[in-house]
Symmetry: C2
Subunit: 454 residues, 2 copies
């Protein structure tokens, strides 16, 4: 039986990565530094000490190409990693494409998405420092599930501010958080000044990741022995998520494959970073690889945002970062892909998009649900609405390859399963999925509030 | 890095089973034959032709030890099989037991449970015969998800009668069925005579698997080009599920392990059959292996039922089988483990329990949820409420091994994940799980209605 029959490629545990890959060491041009929100001067490590654990701050600013994964974390990763590299043969057949479609199935993680890859190290380093309580925000709840599960392992309290609209629709991710002993509230909440201020203006506010970040940071800096964790956007997150791409490289080697195109959805950008960044050294060395980050039309930071300094949160508590942004108080409509409802994008990924090294695409959610349904019916996996954006782009590229008669090899990240998103699929089953178009006026209004820097 | 660090053992695709194992060839004593419900004479193959596809009838009565898995099915199995053999090291640590705990993770299947192992072959053989529509019943919905996904692959219509109480609580398994193009109604329904008769007596009837089977069979035999499929109980199902145990044997060999105890939950008995039956040749050859089937106290067919001829359904449409039964119109209370709410048990498994080759245990659901929560928090997998019964028994055996200071090796089947059962975990989070005790009077009343045979 030939290796070509393998639909899933794994790794032996001893083949798992022992170091994370840090793309910052390989950037062709330097990134703009983060700025202190008050002084507008480049941020110092000490400015972050009240927010993040020390080793995480070191990783955040590290220029090292590789950073050792502590043995204890390697052992925890081995609970489920390496995730399988799967070939979507049935989807290929359904599309009639000569393209070969591979995906890393991060939904195979015990918490259902790639988020655990960074939740474990973040909690680990906080625990090592003696921190006993962690705060965070969450959109669709994938991050909350991962962080509370990780906190539970280390005996750390976890406090989650969940974007209100997702709190009320992704109810079973809430149940998950509670099962693992986490505390979870809808954001904006009455627990923080940031939340109360927004509720005073709009008691029915559906929330946003930017608002929830403000609440979680405020809670962290005003509470005892507490730090804040973030599931995307940060350099440390891209670092931790590199295990996805590092594994994929080894798995593809086993079957003598190499991707022509790498695709991932991007909200903050962490799963896209994970699957694609480890391939950058090859790309910079001249290898012809297209990399495509996919976002929702309802929150189009890459395709319609500004590349500018902005806050990561709504209440302006965070440093200023140079990144693609729709403006820090942009509140996206309530699309089902709650994890992609972020006004901005990881500064590293923004830098790469700005440099033309990563392409950006945006799709409406009805097209994405069609793609997800086809994928589910052919490949037997129900994708998270976030991941469906990647799948839509994969299908388009596979059909383009068919049109051109080219046997392209496509690799994408299936960042999470949609088993907690069945309420969204119910709407889809009922033909009740709406697309949202943002007007130029809305954007202009939001851009007008960008901080004035430079 | 030693093999002992592996928490998950897989197989290479070429190591996957190419034949199913049929325990009927190895039974130490013959089973009582199924009887025709009208004549009470041993059933003929022709009696089943209106209900099942022909090749499935052949498998149902086969005495062959091994039956070839068609190449096309082997390829479909390879989409997700072999499922991982996992070691529950964190659970072991939490219990402080010297026992080694291994489990086959069938929740890793694309439909979330072991049910796809038999759904695919059943649909395959029906499709091969030109059948265009399949009916079935489902309890918690694991079987419905598997069957509709399989039907979707072969372009066959699927009609599901879902036990009413589960229809209204496991709502996302309904959504799954619809996403895959299946039709699903609450049972008892108005679509069949059997359903209408029961609704006339009790309009609020919460349903049972026995009732839903009656409806699905009636639909099959009265509809054009339609056959019926069943997800448990039958010999063919135990046959197909043998892939679980056959894989486990090879996976354990890879790490030089052999189980002292094999555990699975049992409703109809299919996942227990799958994990344990392939070990029987060793057991019959003198190997010391304990096998423990676990059922809910609320539906205690093995521990409090009669070993007697009974119908598999409530409306008495099926052949009479000799098996452990609580009586064909016993309606179990609405426990969360909807898949274990069956009045009887696979005749093969019943035979083995009766012969003393398999031990039977029963637990209340609150103990099982405690076990499931401990498992979820230590092993990062949320078990289906059905599977939690196996976990409770595993924990008890591991603690007994600790007490005795014995390094036992325990193998169990984690038959499915609980991601569609989060409503039940919500109740658990709120301290709202009730145990149900069946009185002797209730049982006596039900036993009085057993058919008079012999």
């Amino acid at each position: 039986m030939s290796k070509a029959l393998k639909n899933r490629i794994y790794l032996e545990p001893e083949e798992n990565p022992t170091k994370w890959y840090n793309i910052v060491a390989d950037l062709p041009t330097p990134m703009a530094p983060p700025l202190h929100p008050a002084t507008l001067q480049p941020l110092q490590k000490s400015d972050l000490a009240a927010i993040f654990a020390e080793e995480l701050i070191d990783q955040e600013v590290s220029q090292e190409r590789f950073i050792d994964i502590p043995e204890e974390l390697q052992e925890l990763y081995r609970i489920w990693r390496a995730t399988p590299l799967c070939r979507a043969r049935n989807l290929e057949k359904a599309l009639g494409t000569p393209a070969k479609i591979y995906f890393k199935y991060e939904g195979d993680s015990p918490t259902g998405s790639h988020k655990l890859n960074t939740a474990l190290p973040q909690v680990y380093y906080n625990h090592k420092q003696g921190i006993t309580r962690i705060t965070t925000e969450t959109g669709a709840g994938q991050w909350a599930c991962a962080l509370t599960a990780a906190c539970n392992m280390f005996g750390i309290e976890c406090m989650v501010y969940m974007v209100s609209i997702s709190y009320h629709t992704k109810i079973y991710r809430r149940s998950f958080v509670k099962l693992y002993g986490g505390e979870i509230v809808a954001s904006p909440s009455n627990l923080t000044e940031a939340g109360r201020a927004i509720l005073a203006e709009d008691p029915d506010c559906s929330g946003s990741l930017g608002i929830a970040i403000s609440e979680a940071i405020e809670d962290a800096v005003t509470s005892k022995n507490t730090r804040y964790c973030l599931g995307s956007v940060l350099n440390q997150v891209s670092l931790h998520q590199s295990v996805i791409g590092l594994e994929a490289i080894k798995q593809l080697e086993k079957i003598d494959e190499y991707p022509d195109i790498i695709i991932g959805c991007a909200g903050g950008g962490s799963n896209f970073a994970g699957i694609s960044f480890p391939f950058f050294p090859d790309k910079m060395a001249g290898k012809d690889i297209r990399m495509i980050a996919v976002e929702p039309m309802a929150c189009p930071s890459m395709t319609r945002g500004k590349f500018a300094y902005d806050f990561c949160d709504t209440a302006k508590l965070t440093p200023l970062m140079k990144m693609y942004t729709l403006g820090h108080d942009f509140i996206p409509s309530g699309i089902h892909a709650g994890g992609l409802r972020y006004h901005a994008l990881s500064p590293i990924l923004s830098h790469l998009v700005h440099e033309g090294l990563v392409e950006a695409k945006a799709y409406g959610q009805s097209d994405c649900f069609d793609a997800a349904a086809l994928f589910a019916r052919t490949e037997f996996i129900i994708p998270a609405p976030e991941s469906s954006h990647a799948i839509k782009a994969v299908i388009d590229e596979a059909l383009a390859a068919k049109e051109a008669g080219e046997e392209k090899t496509i690799l994408f990240c299936l960042s999470g399963h949609g088993l907690y998103d069945m309420a969204a699929y119910d709407k889809y089953n009922q033909g009740d999925i709406e697309d949202v178009v943002i007007t130029e006026e809305e954007l202009a209004e939001s851009f007008a509030k960008l901080p004035k820097v430079e």
